[in-house]
């Protein structure tokens, strides 16, 4: 079944479908009192009154598990303190697209079905109590995990009602609670996991221990599309603690590049992680480096730029832009370049698999426990029902853990030895032989009439189309030309990377808008106001993942707010400001940087961000996401990036793939706009605006247009 088809079915049926799957059709026989009840796939209630939220989403640090638990507590009417959280095994048949975690959709897509599922459960408990007390359900109510009789002080815990509740049919209609009744939603909640983390007790994938566990490290082909010719493992085998050395076969990258792409490699199997990592260094491997052995990122840049000179075809045309572009010879063109990036999650990739012949069990921190299960079925031929995909919390994901190669490796090794195997990537592995945010070249042009008025703009670059995740909000006519692609395939395999293609898209669009403002001798913010005031609502529901249309007025509201919050235009002597704004799916963000020049080096003083992400479930976590996104964007704008020479990644660890540090982090002010719209996601919207707002501030300070990321040396 295509994932999208599944989504359509479940979204139409809402929580009701999920509920009814677990309601028995025959109600004649009361079930055993000692058995716990799962009224739906998100909840388990034990007879000792332990209530567990079974979180289908992955916890990567974004706080989704806490936010969803708050929703459960508010709709089921229980104390959040008494709610335990477990993570669901990968199960497409239970969760469809409510499980794999990406696109800032963790809470957004579950907002309705989860509330409906909890409301139905709550009402069934009320019906059960009413039946026992021989009264009408309308004369009962629930609160803090108890059902009360309105007329006197009779009460019953949810747990005590299980035996009857599980025999009752779901009501046809339930009333969701009003926003004014929420006890948790909208308030900052520090989840239980935070206490576990500060004690060093949070269980990540890399901490998995099993009886007879074999520890593995893999030497992978350093050039993408290369092949293994031969290897000498004599020295490696002599290293004390090494159990075996074996080849890891490559797997083909699939059309959906989330699957496949295991590089050919040689695995060391050992009695602990360190032995495996050390013995790997003693391998002598002979690679056929393949078609990319001589290719560098400079070649990619050159070939993408060459394509800009070829005749274009139109992908999509808004407001007759292609004709308006042709109608004048007065033009400007600006081409932006951004480097490869690694996700560099603090927890290196790792996965544990136990292939027992007829059953495969997987333990991994992943963003795709359901998709990975499907992939392991494709890879091994075992039915999905025989594959158990445990989903552990991740030490960061940012898109990289949406790609299954690291889990495939563990399964391929365990398949050969029928023992549990934990594959741990070294930091060097995650930098040199991973998957990457692609190298991007993105070019914009504009045509002007004889009065220097802008007629239209056109885009050609590495972004394939305009949509909810790389949106175009402005009224100015725009044409999206055919995409630029690397000759003979990607030099490095692609990974999703926080905000994905919005990063190059918004970088180039928002810098170009700044360039256009300068041609009109207009203030950068006022120019955007003009372009948004006239803009019409933009259809973007063609993709199932996108929850709503793009409302330029909402973007305008964030811009107007950031103008005030940042004290735009009055920031003080020696301080220069730059702005950028963007929507991302159904969230909106405007960002202003305050910078100065100190000895010709830029110093970033402050970032002011205004975000509209619909109803805010947990403001502490939403703010954390915006702060983190700005720091993420600054690393990409200012630090090294990934470069490639002769097919090999040049950087290898944090000494040369550096991340922003505490002493380089500016003051960040985050303002969350109030909204009663459905919650719409906060993990990515603030990433793509970072680089353009910074480059626009650099222009304001220096008069120089930087069109290439990362900004080298920061000197001007």
């Amino acid at each position: 079944m295509k994932r999208r088809d599944f989504f359509k079915t479940t979204s139409l049926a809402g929580g009701g479908l999920l509920i009814s799957t677990f309601i028995p059709l025959s109600c004649n026989v009361p079930a055993e009192q000692s058995v716990s009840w799962e009224p739906n796939f998100f909840l388990r209630i034990d007879t000792n009154n332990k209530i567990t939220f079974i979180c289908s989403r992955t916890e990567l640090g974004q706080g989704t598990s806490t936010g969803l638990a708050m929703i459960v507590a508010d709709e089921l009417l229980i104390d959040l303190e008494n709610l335990s959280i477990e993570f669901a095994d990968g199960a497409l048949e239970k969760y469809g697209d409510f499980q794999d975690t990406g696109g800032s959709n963790g809470i957004r897509l579950l907002w309705n079905p989860l509330r409906e599922a909890m409301a139905v459960t709550r009402e069934i408990f009320i019906m059960a109590a009413a039946q026992i007390w021989d009264m009408e359900p309308k004369d009962c109510y629930s609160e803090q995990g108890l059902v009360y009789d309105k007329s006197n002080d009779r009460k019953a815990t949810y747990a005590s009602l299980i035996y009857l509740a599980k025999t009752l049919p779901a009501p046809f209609e339930v009333k969701l609670r009003n926003a004014s009744e929420y006890k948790y939603i909208g308030k900052p909640v520090i989840g239980k996991r935070i206490k576990t983390i500060v004690q060093g007790k949070y269980p990540y994938g890399i901490d998995v221990k099993l009886p007879n566990l074999v520890y593995a490290a893999i030497e992978r082909c350093p050039v993408w599309e290369g092949k293994l010719v031969s290897f000498n493992d004599k020295k490696a085998r002599e290293f004390p603690g090494v159990i075996d050395v074996m080849e890891v076969p490559s797997t083909e990258i699939q059309t959906s590049d989330f699957k496949g792409g295991v590089r050919p490699g040689v695995a060391i199997l050992a009695n602990n992680t360190w032995v495996a990592l050390e013995a790997k260094k003693l391998l002598n491997v002979n690679w056929d480096l393949g078609p990319f052995a001589e290719k560098s990122d400079s070649d990619v840049e050159k070939e993408l730029k060459e394509q800009l000179k070829k005749p274009k075809t139109i992908h999509s045309d808004f407001n007759n832009a292609s004709e308006l572009l042709k109608a004048s010879n007065k033009k400007i063109v600006a081409t932006y370049v951004s480097s490869y990036q690694a996700n560099a999650c603090m927890e290196p990739l790792n996965a544990t698999a136990y292939h027992r012949g007829n059953i495969i069990e997987i333990w991994a921190g992943s963003q795709g426990p359901a998709m990975f299960r499907e992939r392991i079925h494709e890879l091994t031929g075992l039915p999905e029902a025989a594959i158990i995909s445990h989903n552990l919390p991740s030490g960061g994901g940012f898109g990289r853990r949406f790609h299954s190669d690291y889990v495939e490796e563990a399964v391929l090794i365990s398949q050969k030895i029928r023992l549990p195997v934990k594959v741990t990537w070294s930091r060097e592995d995650t930098i040199t032989t991973s998957k990457y945010h692609p190298f991007c070249v993105d070019s914009w042009e504009a045509s002007f009439d004889k009065n220097n008025k802008i007629m239209a703009i056109g885009y050609q670059g590495t972004v394939s189309n305009t949509n909810g995740y790389r949106p175009y909000p402005y009224s100015l006519p725009m044409v999206h030309f055919n995409r630029l692609t690397e000759n003979s395939g990607r030099l490095l395999p692609r990974s999703s990377w926080r905000s994905v293609f919005a990063h190059p898209w918004i970088l180039s669009l928002e810098c170009f808008i700044d360039e256009l403002a300068a041609t009109q001798k207009m203030d950068a913010l006022s120019f955007r106001f003009e372009l948004l005031k006239e803009a019409k609502v933009i259809e973007q529901l063609m993709e199932v993942w996108v929850g709503d249309n793009l409302y330029p007025k909402k973007l305008l509201r964030t811009l107007e707010s950031v103008q005030k919050k940042s004290n735009w235009g009055n920031s003080g002597d020696g301080i220069f400001q730059g702005v950028a704004c963007a929507s991302y799916n159904t969230s909106y963000c405007s960002l202003v940087f305050d910078i100065s020049l100190v000895d010709d080096m830029i110093k970033i003083h402050k970032a002011t961000a205004v975000v509209d992400c619909g109803l805010i479930i947990n403001p502490s976590k939403v703010k954390a996401q915006i702060e983190g996104s700005i720091i993420w964007g600054l690393t990409a704008a200012l630090k090294s990036g990934i470069t490639v020479k002769k097919g090999r990644v040049v950087q290898s660890n944090f000494h040369d793939y550096n991340l922003l540090r505490i002493d380089e982090t500016p003051t960040i002010q985050v303002c969350l706009l109030e909204s009663s719209d459905a919650p719409s996601g906060a993990g990515e919207v603030a990433v793509p605006v970072v680089a353009p707002a910074l480059l626009n501030a650099i222009y304001a300070a220096t008069g120089k247009r930087i069109r290439k990321l990362p900004v080298q040396n920061h000197a001007f």
């Binding site: 640090g61 360190w274 954390a624 720091i631 993420w632 540090r661 505490i662």
Partner: protein, 157 residues
């Protein structure tokens, strides 16, 4: 393994008899042998701080220290940071400021901050920068780390 590889380690006030390669870094002894998983592997070259522990009270990168070089030292990990209460004052501040996101680097962050506050009861911004700039966080929790350190400092006064 031969007897030459037998060693005794003192971790969180407890003696452990272990047998392993003497060149094994302390980090991997803690994680794979003693099963004290709170100390994290992230870079292996002392460049990120995720594996920070205290050696006789001083913060060190446990990924870059051979176990046989520290047999006479007292090792404190995140599991042993809190001596009496459930949470140490630094851990309490981390909780109060809702610092962690993914949490993976936070054991190391907390161990670095605990040392700073032990030696400097009123750290300036610059002191915090110096003590903490060796600890990377990919989620970007730096602003809250700073606030938590300030919070812990004031609660200690």
């Amino acid at each position: 393994m031969d007897n030459d590889n037998s060693m005794t380690l003192m971790v969180n006030g407890q003696h452990y008899n272990i047998e392993c390669n003497k060149k094994m870094p302390l980090l991997w002894v803690l994680r794979d042998i003693l099963e004290l998983n709170g100390t994290k592997y992230s870079c292996g070259i002392g460049a990120c701080g995720a594996c920070t522990v205290h050696l006789d009270g001083q913060p060190v990168r446990s990924c870059s220290i051979n176990v046989d070089s520290i047999l006479d030292k007292e090792i404190t990990t995140i599991e042993g940071l809190s001596k009496n209460a459930e949470l140490d004052v630094v851990q309490q501040a981390w909780l109060k400021e809702d610092v962690p996101q993914c949490g993976y680097c936070q054991s190391g962050q907390i161990m670095s901050a605990a040392w700073l506050l032990k030696t400097n009861k009123d750290p300036s911004d610059k002191d915090i920068d110096e003590a903490m700039s060796g600890n990377l966080c990919r989620c970007g929790t730096y602003l809250r780390i700073r606030k938590a350190i300030e919070n812990a400092a004031s609660s200690m006064q």
